[in-house]
């Protein structure tokens, strides 16, 4: 009766709410994809900037950095909410999860509100010239990602609030913070390029 080596894994937990779960690696890869999208857009901005002399053409008011600088505060604060929610998800503390996610959602909406107002005051459109096209493209793609992530957070709030959730949903809450950290982090270079770029790169009017 020959024998064979047997590895008994029945003792291992059937789930793992931490950065070790495969979903976490999946989210990191998603952030890599979005990161390469937005970094190519930044490279495009400088390529277009160095291709023309007057940037943007005369008669177009550059986006002012005042308002977006203020908007950075709620954005960075929302990371605290996201961190609170992800740690609470590990422990399974429902109240803290709801609190964290709602804080994250509200602060992010404040940020989006300020951005919408600032965006509305631009005197150029996506079809006015190359500068308008690239700035609108950057803002649109970043806003699209932020809105998509906030929709996900909102759905998670509803699920956790309804009480009908299990370990898989808690992994979802824990891992949702990865994308949010990324979106906040990638906004810093984008913000610097859109609002400070024209003043530092090449001769500006």
């Amino acid at each position: 009766m020959s024998t064979r080596r047997a590895l008994d894994v029945s003792g291992l937990p059937p789930y793992y709410i931490s950065n070790q779960s495969p979903l976490f690696l999946g989210q990191v890869l998603l952030c890599l994809i979005e990161g390469s999208v937005l970094s190519i857009l930044i490279a495009t901005y400088f390529y277009l900037r160095l291709g023309v002399d007057a940037w943007p053409p005369p008669g177009v008011r550059l986006p002012e950095p005042a308002l977006p600088t203020i908007a950075l505060i709620p954005l960075l604060a929302s990371c605290i909410g996201s961190y609170m929610a992800s740690e609470a998800a590990k422990r399974g503390d429902r109240r803290k999860m709801l609190l964290g996610m709602s804080l994250n959602l509200l602060l992010a909406l404040v940020f989006l509100g300020i951005r919408a107002y600032d965006w509305g005051s631009f005197t150029f459109r996506w079809d006015s010239d190359a500068h308008g096209s690239i700035v609108w493209a950057m803002l649109f793609l970043h806003s699209y990602d932020v809105v998509a992530d906030l929709m996900m957070t909102a759905v998670l709030i509803v699920i956790v609030a309804s009480g009908r959730y299990g370990e898989k949903q808690r992994i979802g809450v824990h891992v949702d913070s990865v994308i949010w950290y990324f979106l906040v982090g990638i906004w810093l270079p984008l913000y610097a390029v859109i609002y400070w770029g024209p003043h530092f790169v090449g001769v500006s009017r």
Binding site: G120, S121, T123, R125, D127, S128
Partner: protein, 179 residues
Amino acid sequence: MSSRCHSDCARSFAVCCLIALMACQREKRDLRPAPAVAVVYGAAAVESDLHPAGKQYRVPQVTNPYEGNAYAISEGQRLFNWYNCSGCHANGGGGMGPPLIKQEWIYGVEPANLFDTIVKGRPNGMPTWGGKIPEYQVWQLVTYVRSMNNLEPKSATPARPDTLEQSSKTIFPKGIAGR
């Protein structure tokens, strides 16, 4: 299969055919103009039918053969610059000549009216192009002018010319909030 399902399938099939038909009309690309339109209005200003060499048996083309055709619009856009229409009309915003993107048209914006305007010219400076521009190219110009006023299907109209600034910018100088 229940009858309701029949009607659903029939309806969805009809919609697909409609899309296909519209797409075919938009995408048709006849490089050689049909003989009927490959005629040049010799004496454009002639009003009466009396001709020295007997009656000219050619019923003028009234309907636009290039209705909604993307290739014709793109050719019209090229001819708009080649025949220097942009010299007076700019990119549709108007300069020495009247703007071509507007609501009220003195001589009408139907294809036949535009055709007559181009072929016979108009007072106050619109030259007579009949005899100078072949008729099928006049129809292409007519289709392009109508596409500037969004009277041609949106899917056949190019978003912007490669050369000039976006014409719609001149209409919305204020920021997006002011749109």
